[in-house]
Symmetry: C2
Subunit: 288 residues, 2 copies
């Protein structure tokens, strides 16, 4: 895989890492960074994440063979029509947004059916609690799950190219339809996160004397609540971007805990054992 011009819209942690990874591997002749802030673009340029920069979306997209949209999800949705209009026929457009159903549905409305640029949704599961190009790395996608989310309307050749792209960056490609992607990511990432938030809020409600609690917390507590140390603003946005799926998952989790509480209160020893056993078995299958 080699392209002439790669354009990256949004040069933060993910966009910057895409640029660095592509340049390190020589996968593109030219990497153009597109953004709104000259300062951020200049920093990406200095760090070697891009070869050129522009604040003009149309200019950046016009000559690109491959475009990676790496801005926040709401922003990706906002720029899709302009990207669809500007890119040349046959150019491939993908994104790194963590919510796929809304982005893919929007893309399928604004991209032309025939002869124009081709859209394929992606979600590389990489990047931690940091943000910004300063934390970008050429190896961010090594061994990361890179989910690609085609639908029946997606061009099969474009899907293959995008999958090859993530593999070239070291990712392990997983193909999922956009709705199932949103549900699974919600189950394995958003639910554990918000459960940890709930445990902390409930603990504070049960006994707000943090000093006393800190004398008693065990190692399990540290592990279980680690994710809740992430920035609140980042997670607020994730919650809002995938709101229906997350709200439904949380309601299910709450129901599950209510049932468990009821089993415990009435002393249903066998039902309790069975649930604990099932959870343990499922975890073993997930994390062999």
């Amino acid at each position: 895989l080699q392209v002439n011009t790669l354009a990256i819209y949004g040069v933060g942690l993910l966009g910057g890492s895409v640029g660095m990874a592509v340049r390190k591997r020589g996968l593109a002749r030219r990497v153009v960074g597109i953004g709104r802030s000259v300062e951020r673009l200049s920093r990406a340029l200095e760090m070697g994440a891009i070869d050129e920069m522009t604040t003009d979306l149309e200019e950046g997209c016009a000559g690109a063979d491959l475009v990676v949209l790496a801005s926040p999800v709401s922003n990706i949705i906002g720029v899709l029509p302009r990207v669809a209009e500007t890119c040349k026929p046959g150019a491939i457009v993908t994104d790194v947004g963590s919510t796929k159903a809304t982005i893919v549905a929007r893309a399928e409305r604004v991209f032309p059916r025939d002869g124009g640029p081709l859209f394929v949704g992606s979600h590389p599961m990489a990047g931690g609690e940091q943000s910004g190009v300063l934390f970008a790395s050429a190896d961010l996608f090594e061994n990361a799950s890179c989910i690609v989310t085609p639908t029946a309307a997606t061009d099969p050749g474009a899907v293959e190219q995008v999958e090859r792209f993530w593999r070239a960056l070291g990712g392990r490609v997983v193909r999922l339809d956009p709705e199932r992607h949103d549900r699974i990511v919600s189950a394995v990432s958003h639910l554990p996160h918000l459960a940890a938030v709930g445990v902390l809020l409930t603990a504070a409600e049960i006994d707000e004397d943090a000093e006393m609690l800190s004398k008693i917390v065990a190692g399990g507590f540290r592990d279980t609540t680690r994710v809740a140390a992430s920035p609140a603003g980042l997670w607020r946005d994730i919650c809002l971007e995938n709101r229906d799926v997350i709200a439904e998952g949380l309601d299910r989790l709450a129901e599950c805990l209510h049932h468990l509480a009821s089993d415990i209160r009435t002393g249903e020893a066998e039902a309790i054992f069975e649930k604990l056993r099932q959870a343990r078995e499922f975890r073993k299958r997930l994390l062999p």
Copy 2:
């Protein structure tokens, strides 16, 4: 602190470790192991956890200056009357049960008010996912939180002796009344555990294809659900022993998650941010 005869009822992980720790530090002239299984007692003897063994509770308690009850909670509650009857006046009895309100209330009913043996509840927070004397260690209580739970009816001299005992074994002593102990331990240990169980059961409900989920699970999932790998039988018993407090905590957690779901569904950006921020701050105070 030095006692003539220490008796340990129940020589599993905790009882065995008490014996090994006491013998290593020379804190008692004689350590007598009491139990129902000759095989288990013999193993404790071989491992150096006790000096002598007996399957006769009365015989074991009669000569003891300090008795540590280290059997499962329901069993401790069962033997308290016989222990109260047999121990000599001034002997101190404590336990290692993870639930304190029921044990302490029972002890206060069966121990004589004046001139008999003295009971003080304890809960050393040590021992992990293993059980049995084979996993016992003389250093198990080093730096462990050892909670001591006196009430207005507890002899102050006996409380001090028991606290000195746990400190001599390396523990960090925390004093709490039995009800608050149960609530706090439930908040920092049982709730995170059962939340992890709930997350796993809900994930399985959302998508039971464990093989697909395993390709996508992130590090956060591994950490958050680690506690759910513990033996189901052990945790079923913990749930049943502290059932009212745990059931109430779980219901609160479920309510908290329902509210969060509702904020997310209706897009209450500020309320979501505030909850995520509060959880993060509380965690920082708990785990500085």
